[in-house]
Amino acid sequence: MGVKEKPVTKEEMESWRIPIPGGAAIIAPVERVAQWARKNSLWSLTFGLSCCAIEMMSTAAPRYDLDRFGMIFRATPRQADVMIVAGWVSVKMAPYIKRLYDQMPEPKYVIAMGGCACAGGPYRDSITIVKGVDHFVPVDVYVYGCPPRPENLINGILKLQDKIAREHVLTRNGDRAPHREPIIIGENA
């Protein structure tokens, strides 16, 4: 399965129209600005679980440098836009991840990094591991790999940025919004 990418279609543009005279002319630029701002300022939550967290740190480190894309790490969920779940999720940890997700302000995004967070990874037959973080939080980008290389994570982040750029900003409706179509990176199925 490749990466799902949809260019903005005419119909999609039409659907953004608000039925007031000249509405689109007002709304569209505002939306563009909001999309641009959100996309370019993805602040991530300092939250690592296991091996992938080390690769996440490497991604922020000099050679890969996430700051280039305006991505900095914030320690508190209140100031974060994206949660990178980097590592396996145990039954004991799952409620806390759910709580962290709930504590983040909208709009919020989740990147499942590594095989464990995507689908349980090598621990699929363990009874204490949740088979994928998408069992309790909506995931926007799945980055496979064990652990994924930093380049892979950056790819996922860039894909997420593209997705945000296509997102319908003004009527964004939490988890039920249609844009919640996941992007899958690095899965060779």
Partner: protein
Amino acid sequence: MPLTSTEISSPGMTINMGPQHPSTHGVLRLLVELDGEVVHSCRPVIGYLHRGLEKMFEARPYRQCIPFTDRLDYLAALNNNLAISQAVERVGNITVPERAQYIRVMLCEMNRIASHLVFLGTYATDIGATTVFLYAFRDREKMLDLLEMMTGARLTYNWIRPGGVPTDLPEGFEKAVRSVFEELKVTLDENNRLLTGNRIFRVRTEGIGVISKEQAIAWGSTGPVIRGSGVPYDIRKIAPYEVYDRLDFDVPVFDQGDCMARYLVRIEEIRQSMRIVEQCFKDMPDGEIMTKMPKIFRPPAGEAYSRTESPRGELSFFMVSDGSLNPVRVHVRAPSFIHLSMLPDLLKGVKVADVIAILGSLDTVLGEVDR
């Protein structure tokens, strides 16, 4: 009216550090009882990464256990590979060719350097010096390049296996290693000037979190923690495995037992590891790198354990075999697990900021603690 002293007391405040906290190094949770800034008591809660790994080993053939050990102490995956390989070799009476032993030692020491560089970086962030973190990771990337050149992976190598190592050194490896070491020696000195000599860093670490010699032994601490308390306990010296008895290296020991001592032990170990790797290149004989092993490996019934010195301390795998394809029991003696159990004693009466400093100086990896 006579003056009476009134005791001013306030109810303590319980702070829940973790499981998500920037400096608990993973998903450790510390229930800290505070009186103002002073810690009354602390109770570590672990198990947030528990995946029943030891149980999962019981359902796998011996050689299929190796990839899982990468994810125990993910900062030093090769050291874990080595430990379990040794346990399997002992339970199955396998001897490893000499060249393979040299390669193993070399890779483990390089992984130790990478691991200690992560410590340097994360510890600096704990104390508040963000820049050193990035410098340390910059240097670590070079080490990872070398390991990738050898094994093809950055973090989880799955390389050392029972009987030897799968492939020989790649072309131009020695040259690459030497050039990286030259750079590393320079940047280590740079970090030394930036951090070790820094007055603020010294007042934050000297005399903080003192573990006495007796305490360190009684609690079963190993590795840089016990060596920072003045006990020269290093498995590579007291019970040499592989070819460590033929190599010339020093075991850095500091007597102070504080955070600074543990930090200095690790910094010095980086230098010693470089020395070991350079010697390995010189002494390495030609020859086989893998013992012939049966496709279906059934070791005789019995128990065996390995003792290795991982960057965090004594890492030992205990293995019970009953002659079948799978082990009956694999137990991991994780050094970080033991170190964390010292925390309630260590953290009594320190300041909040010291909690982080002390925890960081133990350099625990939660993947290993929770197993």
